[in-house]
Symmetry: C2
Subunit: 330 residues, 2 copies
C-alpha cells in the first residue's frame, strides 16, 4: 500500500460511512486527503466520523452537484474515490429528480471535470448490488443482467456506466466496485433509510424490538467496512482494473433472522425480534435472497472479505457503545 | 386500429422524422393529435413534415426539458408516443449534459408528470439498439447485455428503464421499442449526424460521392418508417405489452456497401462509392455487424417489417425528389 504514501487523494462523500473509514486508513498510509461532503442531513456525513484524523485531512463542504466547485477540486489529485451518493431507495422514489442529479448527472460532471482538468487521475466509483434487482440466479456474478426496482438503481447504473465509458472512450482510468451490504463503525444509524443492518444495530442500542420483514429467511452477504476499504485501495492502485466492474461479496451468507439473533448475542443486549408483514412500499422493492459471486476481484487483486460477521459485529458494537451520542441525534 | 379513433394522442418529438409520420397516420385513423417539439435546429423537427395534416393537428413548440409545460400537456391524453430525444452519438460526446437532460432527466419528469396528472395514460417510448453496444452474438435479442459506446447509450437506457420501472412500481402503462436503423420520408438529411442512411440519401440527391467507413461489409437491418409507425400503434393498444421491451428488426440484412449500391440503382442517380478508413471518433463507437432478433414483438402483436429495402428506398427517393427544398436548407 506504499502506492498511496505522499499522494493526493480526493474522497467524495468523504464524511460519510465508507468515505471516513477510507480517509482514516489513507492518512495512516501517508496520503494527503481531501474530503468533499455536502452534509445533507439525511445522508451519512458526520464530522465526528473523522475525529481520529481531525486536522490531518482537508474538509471541503460542498455538493457534487456544484459542477464549478468540482472542476476546481479534481485538479492535481492523484486518486479520486468517488463515493458520494444518495443511497436511500425509498428517498429515490419520493424525490426522483434529486436522486438523478446526485447519482447520474453529478457523476457525468465529475468525469467531464476530470477529462478537462486532470485526465491522468485514477478513479474508483462505488456502485451497488441494487443494479441486479431480484436475482435470476445465485450467486450473482458481474454478467448477471441489470434490472431495476427503484429510481436509485437506474441512476446508479448510469453513474457507473459513465465511469466505464470514460475509460473506454477517453482512457480515463476509472473502475467500479458494486458493493453489497456494508456495515461497521461510522454508519448513519439515525433513521432506517440506509439499510436494515444499521437499523438493527440502532434498535439493539436503544433496547427496542427488531422488526424483520416477511419470514426473515432472506439471505444476504455482508462486508465489514474495513474489508471494503481494503478493496477500494487494492483496485485503485492496479492498472489491470481500469474500465472494469467488480462485485464485492463475502464467504458467509446469513438470513436476516439469524443475523438479528447474532447481533443480540454479540451485543449482549436482549431485545425482541418480531416478524412483520412487508409494508407495501418495501415489498415491491424486495429482492428475495442475494449473495454475490466475487471471484473476479479475488482473482484480479487478491481481495477477500477477511473479517467474519461475528468479529465485525463485535467491533461495530464496541464503536457505537463508545460513541453512541454522536450517532443518535441530528 | 379503431382503438385510436377519437382518442387524444400526444407525440413528443412530433415534428421529427418518426413523430410526423406517426402523426399523419394517427390523423387518418381519426385521432386528436398534439405534437410537442422543441425545434432544436440540429434535431429533426421540420414543420413541412406535417404538411399533409396541417390544420388537423395541434402543434405545441416546447422542450421536454420544460417540466412545467409537460405537466400541463400530459393531462387528458389517452396515449403518449414519447419520441423526443437527442439522437446523435457524436453530439452526446461533445455535449454530454444536454444529452442527459433530454434523454434521461426529461423522461423521468414526463413520467412524474404522468404519475401525478394522468396515471391512466398509455405510453410508448422509443429506445435504440445502441444500448447493446458491439454485439456479443447475432441476432441480438432483448436479453443481450447492455453495453455503451457513448453517453447517448447510457442516457437512453436510463430513459427506457424509467418507463419500465414506472410500470412495475406504479402501474403506469408504458412500454419500450428498441429501434434499429429507421429510414424513409421526413428524416433529417441536412447533416450526417443522424445516421448513415440519411446521409447516403443526401449524398445521392446532391450527386456527391458516398463514403463508406472501413471495408463496407458491416451488416445492418433497416426499417422503413411506415413499419415502425405500425409497430408503435400495435404495442400502444395492447395490454400485454406494458412493462415490456421489444426489439424492432427486419428479415433482410444488408452490408453498407451493398446498401449504397442499391440506393444508387433505385434512385437512378450515379455517384461514386468510396471506402475510407474510419475517422478515430467514429471507429471507437463502431459496433461491427448488427441485426436484431425481433421474434418477441412478432409473437406479442403480430408485427413484422412488411416493406422491402428496395420498395422503401423507392418511396424515400420519390419523396425527397418531390420535396427536396424543404430538407436541404436550415
Amino acid at each position: 500500500m506504499d502506492t498511496y504514501a505522499g499522494k493526493k487523494v480526493l474522497i467524495t462523500g468523504g464524511l460519510g460511512f465508507i468515505g471516513s473509514n477510507l480517509a482514516i486508513r489513507l492518512v495512516e498510509l501517508g496520503a494527503e486527503v481531501t474530503l468533499v461532503d455536502s452534509m445533507i442531513p439525511s445522508h451519512g456525513g458526520n464530522l465526528f466520523n473523522i475525529e481520529p484524523v481531525r486536522g490531518r485531512v482537508s474538509v471541503n463542504i460542498s455538493d457534487v452537484r456544484d459542477s464549478h466547485g468540482l472542476e476546481y477540486l479534481v485538479r492535481d489529485q492523484d486518486f479520486i474515490f468517488n463515493l458520494a451518493g444518495q443511497v436511500s431507495h425509498i428517498e429515490s422514489m419520493a424525490d426522483p429528480m434529486t436522486d438523478l442529479e446526485i447519482n447520474s448527472k453529478s457523476q457525468l460532471s465529475l468525469l467531464e471535470a476530470v477529462r478537462h482538468q486532470n485526465p491522468d487521475v485514477r478513479i474508483v466509483f462505488t456502485g451497488t448490488r441494487q443494479v441486479y434487482g431480484k436475482p435470476e440466479y445465485l450467486p450473482v456474478d458481474e454478467k448477471h443482467p441489470v434490472s431495476f426496482t427503484d429510481v436509485n438503481g437506474v441512476n446508479n447504473f448510469a453513474g457507473e456506466s459513465f465511469h466505464r465509458l470514460y475509460f473506454d472512450v477517453y482512457g480515463i482510468r476509472a473502475c467500479v466496485l458494486r458493493l453489497t451490504n456494508t456495515y461497521g463503525p461510522r454508519q448513519l444509524i439515525r433513521h432506517s433509510r440506509q439499510g436494515f443492518i444499521a437499523w438493527f444495530i440502532r434498535n439493539i442500542l436503544d433496547g427496542t424490538k427488531i422488526q424483520v420483514f416477511g419470514d426473515g429467511t432472506q439471505v444476504r452477504d455482508l462486508n465489514y467496512v474495513d474489508d471494503v476499504v481494503e478493496a477500494l485501495l487494492r483496485v485503485g492502485r492496479d492498472d489491470r482494473c481500469w474500465g472494469q466492474v467488480f462485485n464485492l461479496g463475502a464467504p458467509e451468507h446469513v438470513s436476516l433472522w439469524d443475523l438479528a439473533h447474532l447481533m443480540i448475542e454479540v451485543s449482549g443486549i436482549r431485545v425482541l425480534i418480531e416478524k412483520v408483514p412487508f409494508p407495501p412500499e418495501k415489498k415491491r422493492i424486495d429482492i428475495g435472497d442475494y449473495y454475490a459471486d466475487y471471484r473476479k476481484i479475488r482473482e484480479a487483486v487478491g481481495w477477500d472479505a477477511r473479517i467474519s460477521i461475528r468479529e465485525g459485529l463485535r467491533k461495530t458494537f464496541d464503536y457505537y457503545r463508545a460513541h453512541k451520542q454522536h450517532y443518535l441525534d441530528d
